[in-house]
Amino acid sequence: MSDILLAVRDLKVHFPVRSAGWRGAHCHLKALDGVSFDVRAGESLGVVGESGCGKSTLARALLQLIPPTAGQVLWLGEDIAGLGDRAMRPRRRGLQIVFQDPLASLDPRMTVGDIIGEPLRVFQPELKPDQIRHRVETLMGTVGLLPHMINRYPHEFSGGQCQRIGIARAIVLQPKLVVCDEPVSALDVSIQAQIINLLMALQRQMGLALIFISHDLSIVRHLSHRVMVLYLGRVMELGHRDGLYRNPLHPYTRALLSAVPIPDPDLERARQRVTLTGDLPSPLAPPTGCVFRTRCPMADRRCEEHTPLLEPAGPGRQVACHHWRRNADT
């Protein structure tokens, strides 16, 4: 398929950790352990999971802000995993990121105009200052900021406005794919909706592909075409939004979804709750076999001994669970 922008194959990011004590033994924190997925042009892929499941690491590893330990990141068919700064630079034009903390991701000593214009200065050094200014002002209008604020500094803006600045900076080069790393989790609920709608509008206008990382399942449902569920750095389930939300196959997905309130009171009363017991196991010592087995209501001997592989489960659907068939069509 030619419209695949980004193909990730068996991506691993391990951080070396030295345990305490004299000559502490080296072990590895497996932040991401064999993640594979594709992103097509113009689509949005939601990535959900609890905090600590490797979502932010995934965002950074895709952009080579953290060098992956193993695996491939194929950007437009070309492996960019582990590319150096210089080799990576031209590719950054098409691959941008919006960060979680809106204010902290803006340089406090720069004006909004300088912040949004920075990628232009890097990639189009031939532009004159007033051309850059013109583009920045136009873009500020597009993302819902008043263009005459161009000389203001980040600390003079609210969180939502700062995130608009961050979005403007990410799209100023007209990228093909924007990775959004929990872009709204630091914002008030009322403002979250505005930012989500802005992202969706931009996606429509510019044909952007989005990777939208969040722990909030209702937001992901709102704007994703496909959804990927991560747990302890591994893909648990991947599928089209409607199929996945209507009929979650993986016990973890079921548990996550059952925690989300359903707006319809009848359905809300009728549904069964699958509650997650226990805490997220330490990623330093993940459980053997299936990583989810310590909290899974369906776990048995097989789950303890064999790691389930991601297997196809219907069109566009993949699940990593030995017993997913029991959850099918219930």
Partner: protein
């Protein structure tokens, strides 16, 4: 509401943002001690610059008939004369020129070297950082006075040598401060964001790191200038500083201290000016620290 809302025309123009620097200047302007100190320094600096026009006496003319005279307004020797019969007022202000120039230039040298060195070491990190900072440690351990005396003996007494020697020593602390600050901001998301935007490492250091570490650096600068002046005075006090008939505060104070009992004015005037200058710099440094970091009071 007595004042009406701002006129609508204003919306047509760009709103001028207030940078963190402007906020800091505003806070500094409210600090009385700092403002007074800046005025004092400005007056001393102006006097030093216009010294020759203020007094009828040249700084190196020897009045054989007026040796070691107390202050006297009638003949224009406002601060008296020294043991060689030269006018002390003009000499003190010429001393101010040398002392302030040494202070500012040596600090500027240390600023440029220290900031770039520290920012590079901190940002690049790893082995490069290790090597760069070990070098600083080694230079730190060298006995500074020995180094200066050696230079003086080898190249003769020369005012530029003093700049070099002082600048070469002062940048070490600057580099350490800047490195520490750099380490504390290099993992902040805006640096990562710049990286994601394709800014080069050099670009990140000069456009993002250095402007953001400048706050503590400026405070340190205002404390380095008096330190350099003191060191220069000390070197001159030892007789290794500037060459006669040129003078500096250190030289004047050395001579004044020698003749303290016979001619106290020889000590009082230069020492007062030196003390005033040092105080002023310290007050400004204090004010700047408060102004730049309002949370950390």
């Amino acid at each position: 509401m007595i004042r009406s809302s701002p006129p609508a025309v204003e919306l047509q123009h760009d709103i001028k943002g207030r940078s963190l620097w402007q906020d800091a200047v505003r806070r500094l302007a409210r600090n009385r001690a700092a403002v007074a100190s800046m005025i004092v320094l400005a007056v001393i600096a102006l006097l030093a610059v216009f010294a020759p026009m203020l007094s009828p006496h040249p700084y190196d003319e020897i009045y054989w008939d007026r040796i070691q005279m107390p202050p006297d307004f009638a003949n224009g020797h406002w601060f008296g004369t020294d043991s060689n019969g030269r006018d002390l007022f003009v000499r003190t202000l010429y001393g101010a020129r040398v002392s302030l120039m040494v202070g500012v230039l040596a600090t500027a040298v240390s600023l440029v070297i220290g900031v770039i060195y520290g920012a590079v070491a901190g940002f690049v990190g790893g082995r490069v950082d290790d090597i760069m900072m070990r070098l600083v440690d080694i230079l730190y351990a060298l006995p500074f006075m020995f180094f200066v005396i050696l230079l003086m003996v080898m190249f003769g007494r020369n005012i530029f040598l003093i700049f070099v020697a002082l600048g070469a020593v002062e940048w070490l602390t600057m580099a350490r401060i800047v490195r520490g600050q750099t380490l504390s901001i290099k993992h902040r998301p805006f640096i990562e964001a710049a990286h994601a935007c394709g800014v080069t490492r050099t670009g990140i250091i000069f456009r993002h790191i250095i402007p953001n570490v400048l706050g503590p650096v400026i405070v340190y600068v205002t404390l380095t200038v008096p330190q350099v002046i003191m060191t220069e005075s000390f070197i001159s006090f030892l007789g290794l500083g500037v060459q006669e008939p040129l003078t500096s505060w250190g030289v004047l104070i050395a001579e004044g201290a020698r003749l303290m009992e016979a001619a106290p004015w020889l000590l009082v005037f230069p020492a007062t000016l030196l003390a005033l200058t040092l105080f002023a710099f310290n007050f400004i440094g204090d004010g700047l620290r408060d102004a730049l970091d309002p949370k950390d009071r």
